[in-house]
Each structure stands twice: as C-alpha cells, then as structure tokens.
Amino acid sequence: MSTTTHPETTISADPALPTIRITREFDAPVDAVFRAHVEPELVAKWLGPRSLTMLVDRWDATTGGGYRYTHVRGDEQYRFYGSFHEVRPNERIVQTFTFEGFPDGVSLETVTFTDLGGGRTRLDVLSVFETTEVRDAAMASGMETGVVEGYEQLDELLA
C-alpha cells in the first residue's frame, strides 16, 4: 500500500452502450502527458501490465499513422495493433485498438487531454466497442492479463 495520494481513476461501463469511460487526473502539465502518449520510449514505460515487457514494433503517433506492439512474459506473447486516426497535440488522440488474438474485435478510442491549469491535466478515455459482448470480453481479458500480479490480494480486497 502506498501512502502517496494518487488522483483516483474513475471508470464507467454503461450497461446500455458498448463503451468504457476512464477518467484520471495527473500532476503534470498537458504537454508532458501528451508526450507520454506519443513518444514510444515513454509509452513503453507505462502502457500494459507491469508483469509484461512491452516491445514496440511501430509507434507512429501522427494523424493517419499506426502502431503495433507486443507484450511479452516468458513464452507468452500478446500482440496489439491499430491506426492513429487523428493526433492533435495536447488536445486529443483518436485511435483504433485490436488484439491480434481476436482480430474481429476492434475498438475506437478517443483520448482527450484537458489542461486544468497549475501544471495539472485531466485525461478522458472513451472506448467504443462493436457490441456489449465484445466490450465485456475485452474487460474480462484485460483484467486477466492486467491483474495477475497481486491477484490474491485483490480477491481478498473485493471479498
């Protein structure tokens, strides 16, 4: 348990819409938060589960660009790819997201960067899936790979 007070991540999954909304504030200026999304060396440091190594094959975060990366843990490999539809510096990134293991499922993600002033930034992420089933499958799989470490503690916490 950390004693540092982190701004809380809020999340909502509408039962009626195939979407997930995530909101989080950062104690950093908007250009830094934006750079951490577009520069591959920075992205690799935080995206993806801690227990997996992120190998970036391609990360062209420009309008019309694309990306591909692999999460590796021992023999396990999870590959992901997508297109950057629009990259607007310090304002917004619109991209697609596909897990290679489930190529029929694609989501559209809109990341909005809001300058809160005083060197603080709010990040809003809206993911739109094709159906609620695909949304739920994505949430379930993300959870399985994402919280492997400390899983038992989490179970206790939620029990």
């Binding site: 950390s2 982190h6 809380e8 991540t9 809020t10 999340i11 909502s12 999954a13 039962p15 009626a16 997930i20 995530i22 989080r24 950062f26 104690d27 950093a28 830094a32 938060v33 750079r35 951490a36 520069e39 591959p40 060396e41 920075l42 440091k45 935080w46 995206l47 993806g48 589960p49 801690r50 990040l123 159906t131 609620t132 089933e133 739920d136 949430m139 379930a140 993300g142 959870m143 399985e144 994402g146 919280v147 989490l154 939620l158």
Partner: protein, 120 residues
C-alpha cells in the same frame, strides 16, 4: 475462472435492448407482465420469454401477491458487475500510476528524456 457463470448470464441478459429497457423500468417500480408488455409491439409471450432470461440471470424475481405476480428487480445482482468493473478500474489505475512515475521522471530530467525520445 474469473468471470463466473452468473456474471456471464447477467451480461448476456443485458445484451438485449428490450431486456435492458425492462430492467430500467423495473428500477423505478415493480410491474406486471402486462404492464411490461405495453410499450412494445411484441406479444405477452415474447415479453415472458425475455423475463425468463432475466429471471435465470437472477436479475428479477416474481412474487405471488393476491391476483398479481409483479416482477421485482434484484438490485444486489448489480453488485457483481460493480466488482468486475472495479477490477478493471484497478488495472487502469495501476497503469496510470506507472504514467505518474514516467511524468515525474520527465519533470526531473526533461532534456534527457526528450533526447532519449528523439534518438529512436
């Protein structure tokens, strides 16, 4: 298994727009099958089938009450979904705590981090 059977049934029950609408209306008040069928251009039998799916998922129950058998929403089932979403939230939170660390690093050595970024 991370997602237990009931949770799968709950989500698949809610995948249908008519059933979601029925749940939304039951969240306001209990209702009879006839009352639930009113706004739809489907038969009472079709509504009964939808109700059966909701009942099997544990989302609704029906109690004998004089001549009426009103349908009641079992709101506590939604707690299961809430827990599931909470796990997903924790995963996102962990990711953003790593982003916090990256941002702190960038603030300490902005030039160095930028140079690293441009070296690729």
């Amino acid at each position: 298994m991370v997602v237990d059977d009931q949770l799968s049934r709950v989500f698949s029950a809610l995948a249908d727009p008519i059933r979601r609408d029925m749940v939304a209306r039951l969240a306001v008040a209990d209702a009879t099958v006839n009352e639930l069928a009113e706004p739809y251009s489907v038969t009472v039998q079709a509504v009964s089938k939808h109700l059966k799916v909701l009942e099997d998922a544990g989302l609704v129950s029906r109690r004998k009450q004089a001549q009426r058998r009103p349908v009641h929403l079992e709101a506590e089932v939604f707690d299961l979904m809430t827990k599931w979403i909470e796990r997903y939230r924790q995963e996102a939170e962990q990711r953003y705590q790593r982003l916090d660390a990256v941002l702190a690093e960038m603030a300490q050595a902005p030039e160095q981090t930028r140079a690293e970024g441009e070296a690729s």
